[in-house]
């Protein structure tokens, strides 16, 4: 019953007043900013990161995790009420969720989303608790070669799941790795690519890059096509689903949870793959498949469960291997490093309170979400209706002051503007920023593991294919890359991303 004693330790950590309070604040802020149009989880977390840097590490990470779920749930709410997904993972929720809202059934749709998410979150919490430690124990055997190959796999996966041209996405990864190297080289003390600028000696902060590319870049894009948003609020009456609704929700939630949990563990995928897969499977097996796309509650429950399950199980590679699998967990890795925690397999043994506290707090956070959202739905709706022209100057203000507060230098403000312009430019050219952010954070780590691996092998590059685990990881990367080139898969990839 080791699991129970671990969870008890986690509960002890998570249930302090401060941690519960910041978990609640995180969930609340995450949802509030997540429902604002045009702000996905990545931009939300980037915006709120500076706030958490003043907290102790455990509390900060608990709050960040709360912000993440909150912003995801906020994204689902806007998908259902205004047909605007905050992020790729909630795109499928719009299909049936918005239809339900149009028929005056926004309440049951929101409830299906909340109940599905909560159930999936509970299951995923236990999965992390069960599979985290053995996976971390296995990862303790990893040498630098294995970690390098694992990072390759993560980056390849992010490329495969990126929108648009494969070649462009690979280029973005390489560019991200290069940008990550800016600053002082840890081994030689050489200042690389700093152009003699003092402020660049520590490199460019990841918050600066994330706020620029995801926050500012997105605003510039939105300004180009400002469209009227019609809000489907024909009064949300009958929030509670009927008995019939409940009956129809059960199986889809179970299936969605299973699919989302499994796909969430895969590096690079996070929750996007899960929600798409859950919806298409549900559409095939459901008795009510004729209703799909016209407001079937199954079409909301299944992808929402999968979405949340995946969001949560994507913490497994993050917490046990230290490998972020999507931009959001990349930001978490960055935040952990800022707090002096090197994410990786040793976190469980060296900082058990942090690890288990975070896991238990995930479940508590999900509980808060459900409790919080019923009384506050009216407030979310009012926030959704804030016209964009009044919203984005506010976002800019928070980004500018937030990025300044990191190191109290105007320099970061200029860099944020630069990355905003770059982010817009690249999105115009069909290059997605997500793989770049991931690579940017992995860059220095990857170089370090490459150096160590090569040192151990005395300069023999074949070391990466001579060690079985490393070979397997690289083989998986090659397979993933090849799969995109197969016509059958690339067709589904295009369809999945068609919005």
């Amino acid at each position: 019953m080791e699991l129970l004693s671990h969870l008890a330790l986690g509960l002890q950590t998570a249930a302090t007043f401060a941690n519960l309070f910041y978990c609640l604040v995180g969930v609340f802020l995450g949802t509030a900013i997540g429902v604002l149009p045009g702000l996905g989880p990545t931009a939300t977390i980037a915006m709120l990161l500076p706030v958490t840097f003043v907290l102790p590490p455990v509390t900060a990470l608990i709050m960040l995790a709360g912000i993440y779920y909150g912003s995801q749930y906020g994204g689902s709410t806007t998908s259902i009420l205004v047909n605007l997904p905050g992020e790729a993972a909630s795109v499928v929720t719009t299909l049936d969720g918005y239809q339900m809202a149009k028929q005056g059934r926004a309440g049951p749709a929101l409830a299906a989303s909340a109940i599905g998410s909560f159930f999936a979150g509970t299951v995923a919490t236990f999965l992390i608790a069960a599979f985290g430690p053995p996976l971390a124990a296995a990862a303790l055997e990893f040498g630098p070669a294995e970690f390098f190959s694992l990072m390759i796999l993560g980056l390849v996966a992010s490329v495969v799941l990126a929108q648009g041209s494969l070649l462009h996405a690979i280029g973005m990864v390489v560019l991200g790795l290069l940008l990550g190297l800016i600053g002082t080289d840890v081994n030689s003390g050489t200042q690389r690519f700093t152009f003699g600028i003092f402020e660049l000696a520590d490199g460019i902060g990841f918050v600066t890059v994330a706020m620029g590319m995801f926050g500012l870049g997105e605003i510039i894009r939105n300004l180009q096509n400002e469209e009227e948003r019609s809000v489907m609020i024909t009064k949300i009456t009958g929030l509670w689903p009927t008995k019939e609704d409940f009956k129809r929700m059960v199986a889809p939630i179970l299936r969605g949870t299973a699919i989302g949990s499994v796909l969430g563990i895969l590096p690079g995928s996070g929750s996007i793959l899960g929600s798409f897969a859950a919806y298409s499977i549900e559409k095939k097996v459901s008795k009510n498949r004729a209703q799909f796309g016209k407001g079937a509650i199954e079409g909301v429950a299944a992808p929402e469960a999968a979405n949340n399950a995946g969001a949560q199980t994507s913490f497994i590679p993050l917490l046990t291997l230290g490998i972020p699998s999507n931009p959001v967990s990349a930001l978490m890795v960055g935040a952990m490093i800022v707090h002096g925690i090197q994410p990786g397999p040793s976190v469980i043994t060296e900082q058990p309170a942090l690890f288990w506290g975070m896991i238990v707090s995930m479940w508590i956070g999900n509980l808060f979400l459900v409790i919080l959202n019923y009384p506050l739905i009216g407030m979310w709706v009012r926030m959704i209706m804030i016209p964009y022209q009044f919203l984005y100057p506010g976002i800019l203000v928070f980004c500018a002051i937030g990025v300044f507060s990191l190191k109290n230098t105007e320099f970061d403000i200029y860099f944020m503007a630069l990355f905003g312009a770059l982010g817009y430019l690249f999105s115009k050219l069909g290059c997605e920023p997500a793989p770049m952010l991931l690579a940017f954070i992995l860059g220095p780590l990857m170089e370090e593991y490459l150096r160590r691996a090569m040192l151990l092998s005395r300069g023999n590059p074949w070391v990466f294919v001579q060690r079985p685990i490393s070979t397997t990881l690289l083989a998986l990367s090659v397979l993933a890359m090849l799969s995109v080139l197969l016509p059958a898969f690339s067709k589904t990839r295009e369809e999945a991303f068609k919005e």
Partner: protein, 150 residues
């Protein structure tokens, strides 16, 4: 002429970044595969980016693609410009001037810009930020900067 503007410009950008990385890294020591110097990894990455850029460039003349579409210059200039301007004046003039400047200039980027609500928003948001960030979180920025004798 190029048949795919996206590939063409992406290729050029990647070639620029890749070759710059290689050229700049020449100033650092290369080391050996066994003991990699600070130039080793950046040179590999720069080379890789250069190759990807060249492939994209060549492909742009062979495989046709969709056009880039209109470029939102107004939004780009006003959003980045207002943020940079904020950085320039925030210490000198203080938040009381820098924040309204940022808000009004960026808000002008919207097609639905109107003076009255924007000014009200600028005033409200400035007061809010001064209270929360300066008084609450203690961020070291002046309300009225030294350029104005504050």
């Amino acid at each position: 002429m190029t048949r795919n503007a996206r590939d063409f410009w992406t290729g050029l950008l990647y070639i620029f970044f890749g070759s710059s990385a290689i050229l700049i890294a020449r100033d650092y020591s290369m080391g050996t595969a066994n003991k990699m110097g600070p130039a080793y990894f950046p040179t590999i990455l720069g080379g890789l980016l250069l190759v990807i850029g060249v492939i994209a460039l060549i492909r742009s003349f062979v495989i046709p693609g969709s056009p880039i579409g209109a470029f939102g210059f107004k939004g780009l200039v006003l959003v980045t410009g207002s943020v940079v301007a904020f950085g320039f004046v925030v210490r000198g003039l203080g938040l009381a001037i820098a924040l309204p400047l940022l808000i009004i200039v960026s808000a002008y980027g919207s097609t639905r810009f109107r003076w009255r609500p924007t000014l009200i928003m600028a005033a409200g948001l400035t007061i809010f930020c001064v209270l929360v960030f300066l008084k609450g979180l203690g961020i070291p920025l002046p309300v009225i900067g030294p350029w104005l004798g504050g």
